[in-house]
């Protein structure tokens, strides 16, 4: 089904224009895809729009989401193209401007303003051993301002050590492996076929991932900011750490934490969190997480950690079912609840009791000591 060159050229123009159009709507149609789209259009012809749509869709889309988007885009473009005689509608300038604006606002929220504070504490002497002991046990929400710096320092030091210990344990385990028959036989040829030198397969490197969701609504603030440190320190041990904060909505802060000064990032997060109040919708946030990030971030190598006191103003059923969905896909689901540090606390809030059946580990996270005790849950073996 080849067409004369003249029509072919026109076709090329329209297809390229169409690719540009869908690209503006978020479908990644690059040069390579445009060429393929043209090839596909030539192969099926343009007479039958349904077939043309199916062909272009196959080439340009690569997920269900793009696929769903495509139909509308296709008809929008071709109707306009038919009306204007071959010229496609230009992508909405207004919409794009809006997008850039909100992206900028978001960046601003995540912060790129340098903070100058926090340096005056530097001269302080390191506290003695007993002071350290005390700090380890102090509830994060009750740490006096004057001790904050020491606690931070101690936390980083201890957490880093923990992270190193975890990595080392992983390496030792990796030494044991199965006999590598292939190399064993190869070595045995020189010995008349007797496998004297055994060759071993290295154990496959485990690609661990950590996903952390932090509740930053009202009272959870102090705890969440400490858990960010925890996540930061663990970056060494886990191949990949993705961090999110939530209250009534979910937002990703992985980028904020990556490749920056921890202090700075923390300061900004703190400022940002202060403005957020109102109830927590854990279930809804988890649903959003599942929809947007679930496929990408959750698999059998993932350790999923959520920090929250379980005060959920949403529907407990949603929380339970979303949590169950996550648990099915990950290696371990850990729920940290700072209130667990209180002696009289019992997890009877609606949200918490809905969540508990779907949790592998339910642990306190109110002070440094409790965070360090998480080590045994983090280790793979």
């Amino acid at each position: 089904m080849f067409m004369p060159d003249e029509i072919g050229d026109q076709l090329a123009e329209v297809i390229v224009e169409f690719c540009r159009f869908v690209r503006a709507s978020g479908i990644p149609a690059g040069v390579k895809e445009s060429v393929a789209a043209l090839e596909a259009a030539r192969a099926v012809g343009v007479a039958d729009k349904q077939t043309l749509k199916a062909a272009l869709r196959a080439v340009l889309c690569s997920s269900k989401e793009e696929w769903d988007l495509f139909d509308d885009l296709f008809w929008l473009f071709w109707r306009a193209a038919d009306r204007e005689g071959g010229q496609g509608r230009k992508p909405g300038q207004k919409e794009r401007a809006l997008e850039t604006q909100s992206a900028k606002a978001l960046l601003g929220l995540m912060g790129s303003n340098r903070s100058a504070s926090g340096e005056e504490d530097r001269g302080r002497a390191v506290a003695g051993a007993s002071a350290n002991e005390r700090l380890r046990k102090t509830d994060f929400s009750e740490v006096p301002q004057s001790d904050l710096h020491d606690l931070e320092k101690l936390a980083l030091q201890l957490l880093r050590r923990m992270s190193e210990r975890l990595s080392r344990r992983l390496k030792i385990v990796q030494l044991r492996g199965q006999v590598d028959l292939r190399r064993t036989i190869r070595r045995s040829i020189g010995r008349g076929g007797d496998p004297i030198d055994l060759a071993f397969k290295g154990k496959k490197l485990q690609q661990d991932r950590l996903v952390v969701l932090l509740d930053i609504s009202g009272s959870m603030n102090a705890y969440s900011l400490f858990l960010v440190r925890f996540a930061f320190a663990l970056q060494k041990y886990f191949q990949r750490v993705d961090t999110f904060v939530f209250s009534t909505q979910l937002s990703e802060i992985t980028g904020t934490l990556r490749g920056r000064q921890l202090r700075e990032a923390l300061k900004e997060l703190g400022d940002q969190a202060q403005g957020w109040s109102g109830g927590t919708k854990i279930g809804e946030c988890l649903r959003e997480f599942n929809q947007k990030y679930g496929r990408k971030l959750l698999n059998r190598d993932t350790l999923f950690m959520i920090l929250s006191d379980g005060w959920d103003t949403g529907e407990p059923e949603v929380l339970a079912s979303e949590l169950a969905a996550i648990r099915r896909r990950v290696r371990k689901l850990v729920w940290l609840n700072p209130l667990l540090g209180l002696q009289e606390y019992e997890p009877i809030t609606r949200g918490m009791s809905a969540a508990l059946p779907h949790v592998d580990v339910f642990a306190p996270a109110h002070n440094l000591e409790s965070l360090l005790q998480l080590e045994r849950h983090l280790a793979r073996v």
Binding site: A40, A43, V44, T51, A55, A58, I185, I189, Q207
Partner: protein, 302 residues
């Protein structure tokens, strides 16, 4: 990249040819899927079929192989699938025996090594088989690629662009006929962008009433028209119930077959109750279907 070659005497000139060919082999396609298959053949690109389980993704490959009259080579992916079980492996037992037997001969170590690592001792796994088609391009089905890990996906990507495999002891094997490649995924995880961009993409939806009815009738020629209609409309309503695992076409066929085997002429609550296991694969789903009131879901003809 070389394009796959059709067997002599075969030609597929348009998407309609695909629809027709598939239908003759008992597989009802829609024009969109047929277009993708046609383009895959024409442009020599692998295609990625995504969709819920039980909608005939795997079947597409089987039917395509029959339509083209070539071999179907299937690689079932699973967690932990490695190159040894996907590409090739040496036959160790045989190698050990050969070394023992040759002990007394005067061959040098190098000669022995060369012998033991020759084709005779090589066990070809699906991917190596797939690039060694003798007369024509085989169909290579890489099933449930989302189950394999990311490292394997990267390897696959390399194979799909070069169609060659290097075996350190033997040298490089190049494809004589590049296979037609079909990948399927249940979307249990997202595939890498690079792999997705290499492929033509098709999302398989649940079929509409007419299409599903045609499928049931073409696969179960003995079924009564009325029963088939009731079964299909029942399943279509069940899909609206948001079950944890909605029944696919495979379940519809199973169920219809079960009803026929039980000698049912039409659907009634008792028959549904007795055979609900064909449709629902979990306790919660079964409860949901019961709660939705089975009687209401049954459409009575006339």
């Amino acid at each position: 990249m070389a394009a796959p070659t059709l067997p002599p005497g075969k030609s597929i000139a348009s998407p309609q040819d695909v629809v027709r060919g598939f239908e003759e082999l008992g597989y009802i396609t829609d024009p969109a899927l047929a277009t993708v298959i046609f383009l895959g053949i024409k442009m020599g690109r692998p295609f990625l079929l995504e969709g819920h389980a039980g909608l005939g993704k795997t079947e597409v490959a089987k039917v395509l192989a029959r339509l083209l009259g070539t071999n179907l080579i299937r690689l079932q992916c699973y967690e932990g699938l490695d190159v040894n079980s996907a590409v090739y492996e040496w036959n160790y037992q045989k190698q050990l025996l050969a070394i023992k037997i040759e002990e007394a001969t005067t061959q040098t170590v190098e000669e022995k090594e060369k012998h033991v690592f020759s084709r005779e001792f090589l066990m070809e796994r699906p991917l190596l088989q797939a690039i060694q088609g003798r007369e024509a391009s085989p169909v290579l089905l890489i099933d449930e690629v989302d189950r394999a890990d990311e490292a394997f996906e990267a390897f696959l990507l390399e194979l799909l662009s070069d169609f060659q495999i290097s075996i350190p002891e033997l040298g490089t094997v190049r494809a004589r006929h590049v296979p037609f490649v079909i990948l399927t995924s249940n979307r249990s995880r997202e595939l890498s962008d690079a792999l997705k961009r290499r492929c033509l993409y098709h999302w398989i939806e649940y079929p509409n009433f007419e299409k599903e009815l045609r499928i049931v009738i073409s696969r179960l020629p003995g079924i009564r028209q009325e029963l088939a209609k009731q079964v299909v409309s029942f399943v279509q309503s069940v899909r609206e119930l948001h079950l944890s695992k909605a029944p696919g076409v495979a379940e519809t066929l199973d169920w219809a077959e079960a009803l026929v085997a039980l000698g049912r002429q039409k659907l009634d609550p008792a028959a549904v109750e007795a055979t609900l296991g064909c449709l629902s694969k979990s306790l919660e789903d079964t409860a949901k279907i019961r709660n939705a009131d089975v009687e209401k879901l049954i459409v009575h003809a006339g």
